[in-house]
């Protein structure tokens, strides 16, 4: 049992360290091609493959700057608070059928939604403790955005729970049927959009808004702490893509033998991560009021309607 525990923790940690870097590398190349520019091409000679490693080495050697006026313990703790919830979410995401999941807790979905909600704390901690006006404005924007989008995210997740009749993520994938692609389509769109807003990716990057707020609530961060906060963003992409794939796209289900199911999970997650990168290239940033309006006047009513529809159909079936 101890061995099983060690294998699970090691596997989750490996996914936590490797997948976000793969997404980051893909983002370099995909953005460069989509925008018709070169991007980093020198490090490692062949198409700049070593750029990400070079960035990491650079971050590891940078001076650790903490503003004199900052609330230092809070400032230092914020990157860990931003990062660790996503690490814990990965534990609950089933890669394939059977034992290919870190923890098949019965209330997995509930725990996952709760963990994603911790993000708002990290944003407020980072922004407030920096003692900087830009970070404060960024943090307040971030808090408003994250709190608002928590709702459609939770309601869309609840819709899947109603459809499957369970809160366990592996059991939800077991219960999944291809026709859910149609039945749960509005919830899927709401969940993915709200997930994007939760990880503050463009077009929902008003809390960072580099052309207005320097770098939003991250302005005062430098060196490795900044790198950890960036890592949190990319783990966030992996987590939101994987959750959408598991809840709405059937996770490991697909043509072919069940033993290759893990490949389906990775493929679906990768495809959704590519969409996240694509949105960053293609969409302008939404204004703060537009972000709130989209949530309260768009996503929340749609999610509520979906919940009613799901319940009615689930009763009829």
């Amino acid at each position: 049992m101890l061995l099983e525990l060690a294998v699970k923790v090691a596997a989750v940690l490996a996914a936590f360290l490797v997948l976000p870097l793969a997404v980051g590398q893909t983002e370099h190349k995909l953005m460069a091609h989509m925008q018709g520019r070169l991007g980093p091409m020198h490090a490692g000679r062949f198409h700049g493959w070593a750029q990400l490693i070079a960035d990491g080495v650079k971050f590891a050697q940078k001076e650790d700057l903490v503003p004199d006026a900052a609330d230092k313990p809070v400032f230092r703790l914020a990157p860990a608070v931003a990062l660790l919830p996503y690490l814990l979410v990965i534990l609950f995401i089933p890669l394939g059928p059977g034992d290919l999941v870190g923890s098949s807790l019965d209330m997995g979905l509930f725990v996952v939604v709760a963990l994603v909600g911790v993000g708002v704390l990290a944003v407020l901690m980072a922004g407030w403790s920096s003692a900087n006006k830009y970070t404060l404005i960024g943090a307040l924007r971030g808090a408003a955005q994250l709190m608002a989008y928590e709702l459609p995210l939770v309601l869309a997740a609840a819709s899947v729970a109603v459809a499957a009749g369970t809160l366990s993520l592996p059991a939800i994938v077991e219960a999944w049927h291809p026709w859910w692609l149609l039945w749960q389509a509005p919830a899927a769109v709401v969940f993915f959009t709200a997930g994007l807003a939760e990880i503050r990716r463009p077009p929902f990057d008003a809390p960072i808004a580099d052309s207005e707020l320097v770098f939003g609530y991250l302005t005062e961060y430098a060196g490795l702490r900044f790198a950890l906060l960036l890592l949190a963003e990319y783990v966030g992409i992996v987590v939101v893509s994987a959750l959408t794939a598991v809840l709405f796209l059937g996770g490991w289900r697909g043509p072919g033998p069940e033993s290759l199911g893990w490949l389906w999970t990775l493929l679906k997650t990768g495809a959704l991560a590519a969409v996240v990168i694509w949105l960053r290239v293609a969409w302008p940033r939404l204004r703060v009021d537009q972000i709130q309006a989209l949530c309260w006047k768009g996503l929340v009513p749609v999610a509520l309607a979906q919940l009613v529809l799901t319940t009615a159909v689930a009763l009829a079936l």
Binding site: Q61, A144, D289, Q292, T311, A314
Partner: protein, 127 residues
């Protein structure tokens, strides 16, 4: 016997969660320790100042911000409470049938009415 094994299995699910949390903190701590060995440290008043577009910061670290979205926060609290009840309900409502669905429909309906009222009152408009 069987039930004690079930309890043991559930405990191990929580155990792996706790261990992973500790490992996560250890990862951050190890990264920061390695960073301490590799990085230079040459503090100066300039580096310690907060960043304000390259000029000396104006005023202190306190700024007044108009928080326009506090009403949204109230709305959020209402719906968040609803969400907490939704999840356990979703897991069991099939066993209770249409009656449970109708009750939750009433609950959600009242909240939706609240959102509609706030919308009508102009709370959701940016001023």
């Amino acid at each position: 016997m069987a039930s004690s094994r079930l309890v043991g299995a559930a405990l191990s699910e929580y155990l792996v969660f706790g261990v992973l949390l500790l490992v996560g903190f250890a990862f951050v701590a190890a990264a920061m320790t390695a960073n301490r060995l590799l990085r230079p440290s040459a503090p100066s008043p300039g580096k310690g100042a907060v960043y304000e577009c390259g000029v000396d910061p104006v005023g202190g670290d306190w700024a007044q911000v108009q928080i326009r979205y506090y009403v949204y926060a109230y709305l959020f609290v209402l719906f968040a409470v609803e969400a907490v009840f939704l999840f356990p309900w979703a897991a069991v409502f099939r066993d209770f049938g249409p009656a449970a669905a109708a009750e939750m429909g009433l609950f959600v309906g009242v909240l939706a009415l609240g959102l509609a009222y706030a919308w009508r009152k102009g709370v959701l408009r940016w001023r």
